[in-house]
């Protein structure tokens, strides 16, 4: 079974981003970039499926600037077999989903695994959009994935607890935090990954128009909270909450 995994290049999750002085976005100069953490979980799940003998080939796909090759190489070092980069900047989720749909049509994977959201735009859309465009079932926010007999059972983290759905293959899965703990790439595997095939394409190769449909007017920092006071003990805390804040 072929598995397609999508990976996104984003600002490293440890970086506290700053809004650019002209309010056009966030300042990305000299900021550390990395694979989106939810995509790392997606790659790990695909690799585990291959280790179990369920997956036979893993294709890592990224839509992004040419530097996103680094994130594809990371996926290859973790165990993906080959990579496809669709080189394009600032593509919105619908555009990414259309590109992935075109790749799904060509590659015909049985399972597509994506992160549930990227930590830059926090959109949480691409996997669901891809599933809709391809007419596939979806298991979003997955905490457990079991492939058997032409279907996949996905346990999903929902607001009230957990829900399990059964999807016909091919299907789309998006990962939540507790699906697995991603491994680190070993040095020999990083070296080997450099020799694995990586195709570079453009949206035009797939006939997909990725013109943004939603315009960002401005980006501002959020209202800052001021640090308050330190209280000496629990009695003072309770007194403040009762008589000053009046919230209990």
């Amino acid at each position: 079974m072929k598995v397609l995994v999508a990976v996104k290049r984003v600002v490293d999750y440890n970086v506290k981003v700053r809004v650019a002085a002209d309010n056009s976005g966030v300042d990305l100069t000299n900021v550390k970039m990395a694979m989106n953490p939810f995509c790392e979980i997606a790659v790990e799940e695909a690799v585990r499926l291959k280790e179990k003998g369920v997956a036979t080939e893993i294709i890592a796909v990224a839509v992004g600037p040419k530097e996103a090759q680094e994130q594809i190489r990371t996926a290859l070092a973790l165990g993906a077999d080959r990579g496809i980069l669709v080189e394009a900047a600032d593509v919105q989720p619908l555009g990414v989903a259309k590109l992935l749909k075109a790749i799904v049509d060509e590659e015909k994977p049985e399972l597509v695994i994506l992160g549930k959201q990227a930590i830059d735009g926090d959109n949480n859309q691409t996997g669901q959009m891809l599933a809709a465009l391809a007419g596939l079932g979806q298991g979003t926010f997955a905490s457990e994935v079991n492939v058997a007999d032409g279907s996949v059972k996905v346990t999903r983290e929902i607001d009230g607890g957990l829900q399990t759905v059964d999807l016909k293959l091919p299907a789309v899965v998006t990962t939540d935090l507790r699906l697995n703990e991603p491994r680190y790439a070993s040095l020999p595997n990083i070296m080997k990954a450099k020799k694995k095939p990586l195709d570079v394409k453009t949206p035009g190769d797939f006939g997909v128009d990725v013109t943004p449909l939603v315009k960002t007017v401005k980006v501002e920092p959020p209202a800052e909270r001021q640090a308050g006071i330190k209280v000496a003990d629990v009695a003072e805390l309770v007194d403040k909450l009762k008589n000053e804040a009046k919230v209990i």
């Binding site: 669901q128 596939l136 079932g137 999903r156 829900q163 399990t164 960002t216």
Partner: protein, 309 residues
Amino acid sequence: MSVLVYAEHDNASLKGVTLNTVAAAQAIGGDVTVLVAGAGCAAVAEEASKIAGVAKVLLADDAAYEHQLAENVADLVAEVGKEYSHILAPATTVGKNFLPRVAALLDVQMISEISAVVNATTFQRPIYAGNAIATVESSQATNVLTVRGTSFDPVAADGGSAAVEALSVSKDAGVSSFVGEELAKSDRPELTAAKIVISGGRGMQNGDNFEMLYKVADKLGAAVGASRAAVDAGFVPNDMQVGQTGKIVAPQLYVAVGISGAIQHLAGMKDSKVIVAINKDEEAPIFQVADYGLVADLFEAVPELEKLV
């Protein structure tokens, strides 16, 4: 302008977040229609018809929608929704699951988790875990939006008298089926709706120690949450997680116990009215957003708190 609001419910009663979503719809303007899709959910439609300011309620009562399977619900909403200028759903795990499918089917770019309506085509939304607020504008034929409930004050649950219209649209995509669910049962208020939330973090050390928080919560009528660290460590289940990828809460009072305050956690609670932090590490970042900070061992402070409230 005409706005379609997707109702969140459990087939028996309407979830409160629907009222916040209707508030966002009213800020956009135009007639507000509420769509109730489920199975055996006529009572929910009845409840929705009483919401203040709702012009019409559509009821799609069919086995295919019983468990809110995204594939089936999205086909329904895309068909019903194309007549509207805006389609809104709460940014819950239900809305986040099916609404992007609707947008893709209508060939529009969705706007996720709006926190403010500037005008009918301009919205604000948090990005980068709430470290930046983007103002975005869309000139698409249909605006498809999820709504962050805590950013909008709910409209009144009664006072309206909308007509309920039954739809006979059965959409079963046939690619997914419901297997089962494990829902947390609790007598405490729901996290996202509670006036007071007490959350525990890694500092709680284990799940049994959360009992201390439950005792305080029960005295205050509070909900109990957790940081990602506490959930990952297996202390408590996932539905208690507050943060960027968990639940977003904005209660009158948020008490963070043994939580260091990673930005991903702050993203889920920093709009709370009053924040209290109890942590033995006085350098913990949580103190930078806390109105009242108590540097103390939580195992002494929490039982004392229980006695004093």
